[in-house]
Symmetry: C2
Subunit: 375 residues, 2 copies
């Protein structure tokens, strides 16, 4: 599934390629978030034009609506949403933790109330595999227990214990119930919150079971950036070189640049699309709030260094006007640019690694962007 092409001579950043039934993905890469099977405010023509290689959807959301019977009838997610490139579904572990009304953890699984209609559901590791097989993404995440921040040692230990136990069951069920009409790979999600030994225990236990790839979970849950990168540092030594590494829910552009320098291959976050809908744009010099008065007469593009379709055509003055009037087109334009900013950043990152120039590239980017992080 993962092939390491090369590692930068001066740091741990790696260039690789991930093979799926829907094509190869050049890594490191960013996954636009399409929770409900659409990247908010964009069409798949847009997503493709931007150059995204993969889209991430959410099993929890898609299970609730439109429901699995629609995915079975459509012959899977790709056909349903008309996107024939790779996909990944998150398991719902994080959503049950963050969205559902009532969460009752049991050894067997988790009971929760739908955030939509309050209906009761019970997810087990096996049921989530069933759901994700029915949906049919190329890469799937198992049901895990995402500990909050801050969280007690006891809570973190429980999260690791259940995550390992459920991962084992998920793996077994996944292998014993493969569907001939689906070609999928199963990740493991490493937990352990902000506790070094628990992060190590979680990583070791999951490595011992053996998965197609590994994700670092329980990050980007409100913890300081320092803690986020500590979790990364503690975990990385355990991760095998021949499997891709996914830093879940990360993050801001400078955090991605930093994490690539540590050897991460996969990223996702709703920030480019969410910020886009609120009129905040990413630029090479940091974020700007496009709706601000200062841009009323500014006929230059959002980011003078960007060559996306929006920056080639539209001015800050025009986009600001649309945002002020809550015109849908305004938030679409910022979202498009933001997603391009992320996807294009990954393109530059891959090029820099190929040239063994990642450290210089990353630190130039970080300084210009106004970040305190360095590689």
């Amino acid at each position: 599934m993962y092939k390491l092409l090369k590692t930068d001579k001066n740091c741990k950043a790696r260039r690789g390629v991930v093979s799926t039934a829907h094509g190869d993905i050049q890594s490191p890469f960013f996954m636009p978030v399409g929770t409900n099977s659409s990247v908010k405010s964009l069409t798949f023509e847009d997503v493709n034009e931007i150059g995204a290689q993969i889209v991430l959807c959410n099993a929890y959301h898609l299970f609730l609506r439109p429901g699995l019977e629609v995915f079975e009838a459509a012959k899977g997610l790709h056909n349903f949403m008309s996107w024939q490139k790779p996909t990944l579904t998150d398991s719902g572990g994080y959503q049950v933790f963050s969205l559902a009304k009532l969460r009752k953890l049991q050894d067997d699984g988790v009971e929760f109330q739908s955030h939509i209609d309050g209906a009761y559901h019970f997810f087990t590791p096996e049921k989530v595999i069933d759901i994700e097989q029915s949906i049919g993404a190329d890469m799937i995440m198992p049901l895990d227990v995402c500990a909050p921040y801050p969280c007690s040692r006891h809570e973190a230990e429980e999260s690791v214990r259940l995550t390992t136990s459920w991962a084992k069951r998920a793996r077994k069920y996944f292998l014993e119930n493969r569907r001939s009409d689906r070609s999928q790979n199963l990740f493991a999600i490493i937990q352990g919150a902000t506790y070094k030994d628990l992060r190590e225990r979680s990583a070791q236990e999951l490595l011992d079971i053996g998965f197609d790839a590994y994700a670092i979970g329980g990050v980007s849950v409100g913890e300081p950036v320092k803690d986020m990168f500590e979790a990364l540092d503690w975990t990385m030594p355990f991760l095998p070189k021949d499997k891709q590494r996914y830093f879940m829910g990360i993050g801001l552009p400078d955090q991605i640049v930093k994490a690539v320098g540590e050897g991460i291959d996969m990223f996702d976050t709703c920030l480019p699309t969410r910020f886009g809908r609120h009129g905040t744009a990413f630029t090479a010099y940091g974020r700007i709030i496009v709706r601000n008065e200062e841009f009323k007469f500014d006929f230059t593009p959002i980011d003078p260094e960007c060559d996306c379709l929006v920056c080639r055509r539209y001015s800050k003055s025009y986009i600001r006007h649309l945002l002020k009037l809550k015109e849908i087109t305004g938030l679409k334009l910022v979202t498009y640019h933001n997603l391009y900013f992320y996807v294009n950043l990954m393109r530059k990152i891959r090029k820099a690694i190929e040239d063994d120039q990642y450290v210089a590239f990353a630190n130039d980017f970080l300084e210009k962007y106004g970040s305190e992080l360095r590689v």
Copy 2:
């Protein structure tokens, strides 16, 4: 400005071409409504891809936001919104009538309160020309008085009297204050409500003044379809063959097909975009409500006879799912299809007139669409 290319041998439908400083427009044509300088939920890439030849904006809205100083700084509407094809601005006469809070008609002009912040404004025919020159669309409408439906004979008479008086002043001011940095044509708007003699009086008075082109206004204000076409029938004999004819705010697809058969060249309505945002789609067989349960497992396109980008790629099942979840992408997809339906209908209409097949084409369309209208 207008060149009549040919009239269908069997009816009054005409093929022509309208020349503007931003290119030619093949007529009959439809103008997508971009009130605030964007066609709601679409980008100009979309509008262009759909094949629209012109966009209609609203002087009343653009005067209020972003304000004329922005259009002066941007060097006009086309540059501001990055659309270099033809444009038309409506004067605000209709908006003052339909949107503004308080409307005080005087012989000199109209006082009203902005629907946004309640601020008082006073529009005169001259001021509206100033506004539209500042905005800089290729075709501009003068300030008129749009009578409501139903309306008394007295009210209709007043509307005709003021509309003529203001049109005369607008024309004079427009000719005496031409700007070297704008190339524009001024229409007249014929009023008269549902009164035959008033329609005739209005048309004759405006013809006597002489304008670049003529619009039939005061229609699509809630009157029965029969009254709409009566207003058209009464007015048409007055309209010169060598000027284009604009049926303002019309209408539903079958109404457009019928009006083309009477010799109309220009149309606008917010229906394709507004219906799109509410999940209602136009098809060759009439309208469908895409969010309906019946389409949950329907993996066919919105309109099986449509070759638009949306119908080539997405299913009713998928779009319904997005609409149910209020995903922006859902309403964008229906809007895109709907606008394509209108623009493509005009393409077919032009072809049918060229082939002298308009009557057969129109009646086939109307029957299939489920309309009671016939040409």
